[in-house]
Symmetry: C2
Subunit: 365 residues, 2 copies
């Protein structure tokens, strides 16, 4: 469906589903699968009345934001065919704006007192530095992060796995009311949709994609937070983990991320903003990538300029071109790689295709 909408546009696809006139077959995938899927979509679409959905939502203060709208968070475009078709949004903030300076703070539902304390403190201290948080609205770490951000006076974004009218979990009904009043509630599902296990997992990609970095506060080895962490890595966002006592199973997932060098170790809000601010405070609209080259500090930009587009270059060559010493270059290259600007290939460092650092971006708007 994502590929079809990308090819044909949402209006054309909707029209096709209502009339039964299939658009031309997309190039990917076998024809019979496509035909079967199209019939399934038709059946699903048959029960949908967009006008009723929209007017019921509007009565509950819920609006629909679609790609191309001014409030559409263009960093989601990096999800490509997994980009949400649209987002239902409730709250006072423009969603895109609320995520400009944001960090995803995620973790276990059955968190420990330690985890709840750390999540709340981090979110509060981030809010003091005017950074907002994005999380999943669940019990435990998610809730502590949302509350900490609101207490610190910044907006928080809760990405829910069901309809925004349902308040799942029930115990967060008043928290969600607070978020609607002082932050933003988001879902890709229309009103009335109950969350499913699958829904929670695919929701995590949105949390990771909305933010330049994800912090895992407390996570067991099988925690859903590690799913969000994997999305953050795949999207080349900064992945951070908070350590905890090695005697706590709830920190085992964080420690594994650290042990495998997948996440950087962060212990306070200053650590976190250092990592994401290096990459740039700004999300740039309209490029299909999340992080803006223009938001990089001077030295990182010099290093990025020294990284070739196609054939890779060694660290020494890049350091020499950028005119900085090798240690500094190594540090910057690491940060740029963590930020998805560049990648290490067989032949050395090169600009990641499709990243904000690529050719198209060299010409400043």
């Amino acid at each position: 469906m994502g590929a079809l909408i990308a090819d044909e546009g949402a209006a054309t696809v909707w029209d096709a589903l209502r009339t039964g006139r299939r658009p031309r077959i997309p190039e990917k995938g076998p024809v019979d699968t496509y035909e079967r899927r199209f019939e399934r979509w038709r059946a699903q679409a048959a029960g949908v009345d967009p006008d009723t959905l929209l007017s019921a939502a509007a009565e509950s203060g819920i609006r629909l934001v679609v790609p191309g709208d001014p409030g559409w968070p263009s960093q989601l475009d990096q999800l490509a065919e997994h980009r949400p078709y649209a987002l239902w949004v409730r709250g006072v903030h423009d969603l895109r704006h609320a995520c400009l300076r944001s960090v995803a703070v995620v973790g276990a539902r059955a968190a420990s007192a330690y985890g709840l304390h750390v999540a709340g403190e981090l979110a509060w201290a981030l809010a003091e530095r005017t950074w907002s948080t994005v999380s999943g609205g669940a019990y435990g770490i998610d809730g502590a992060a949302h509350r900490g951000t609101l207490a610190g006076g910044a907006p928080t974004v809760a990405v829910l796995a069901g309809g925004l009218d349902l308040s799942y979990p029930r115990g967060h009904e008043s928290l969600f009311a607070d978020i609607a009043a002082r932050g933003t509630l988001v879902s890709e599902h229309p009103m009335g949709t109950s969350p499913t296990r699958h829904g929670f997992l695919v929701r995590n990609r949105i949390i990771a994609a909305l933010t330049p970095g994800t912090v895992v506060v407390e996570a067991g080895l099988r925690s859903g937070a590690l799913n969000t962490a994997r999305h953050a890595q795949e999207l080349r966002r900064v992945l951070m983990a908070v350590p905890g006592p090695v005697t706590s199973a709830l920190s085992a997932g964080c420690h594994r991320l650290l042990r495998e060098w997948r996440a950087v170790c962060v212990t306070d809000a200053a650590d976190i903003t250092e990592h994401v601010a290096h990459i740039g405070d700004h999300m740039r609209p309209g490029t299909g990538t999340a992080m803006a080259r223009d938001g990089l500090d001077e030295e990182s930009r010099r290093v990025l300029d020294a990284v070739p587009e196609r054939s890779g270059a060694g660290t020494a060559t890049i350091a020499a071109t950028a005119g900085i010493d090798l240690d500094a270059a190594l540090g910057r290259l690491g940060l740029l790689a963590a930020g998805g600007f560049i990648e290490r290939t067989l032949s050395g460092w090169r600009v990641r295709s499709g990243s904000s650092g690529d050719t198209g971006d060299r010409v400043r708007p």
Copy 2:
């Protein structure tokens, strides 16, 4: 003095100090500094009677081990001019043998209950896997590590900063008696020497050099354990850190090591042995390096063989030569670098000169 002994041999230097006949001037350093130092050493040597020292030590069950003795831990030779001239040793174990499968476990003196628990548990679990510990005999983490190892039935090595007859700190008198009975006490200072602040710091180089890896269990930002960590890094040993609550100042040093990618995150004994065993269980005598190429696993050895001696090579070239895939090669290269076998240079990976992987070592004994 270290350089002089290396050039002339200890017996010649001692003879010169007693007679006042200066050996030829070493090439390094200005002549007048050398002459002033020589006179200072003469004055110090004047009060020393080796025979009395040795016989008094022997009466206390303390023996002197010097470079070249069968029990000399040749991994200390990597300290070059900072190698101890000799070591006073007390205990049932051959010092070299006691360090064959050992890990340095270090940390804060004013440790928390968490740190003491973790140090003791780690040391005990390492002992169960027949790994011994080396530490500094201090209160806190050191003491917990020594005790844990003894409880687990393995020998432990305490490297003290003063004479072995002094039992510093006093409260560890019975612990030191246990170690003398079931492990080894070591000092580079003769009987009667009180430890000094400087003595504690230079002692740390021996702890790091005796072992293939150092684990920092709990350390504040200004902890002496971070000094041992720096020695371990400079000696290219594996540096490991145990995370803890971010709310604890006593874990801040460990977290800094993790944040700066200087140490690997370890949470249990299996993590630790995985990191040091990859590098090799065996210390090889007589090479001036700590870790034996022969102790490497098959794949690491293939990768090491594929790393050039002089001009560096890229990861892809090395992977191709070794016949393993790029990801596996990257992992092995990281471990080999952590183990001091290879280094990353301007032109790529190459064998570290003086390492167990260098030319002299390619011809197996």
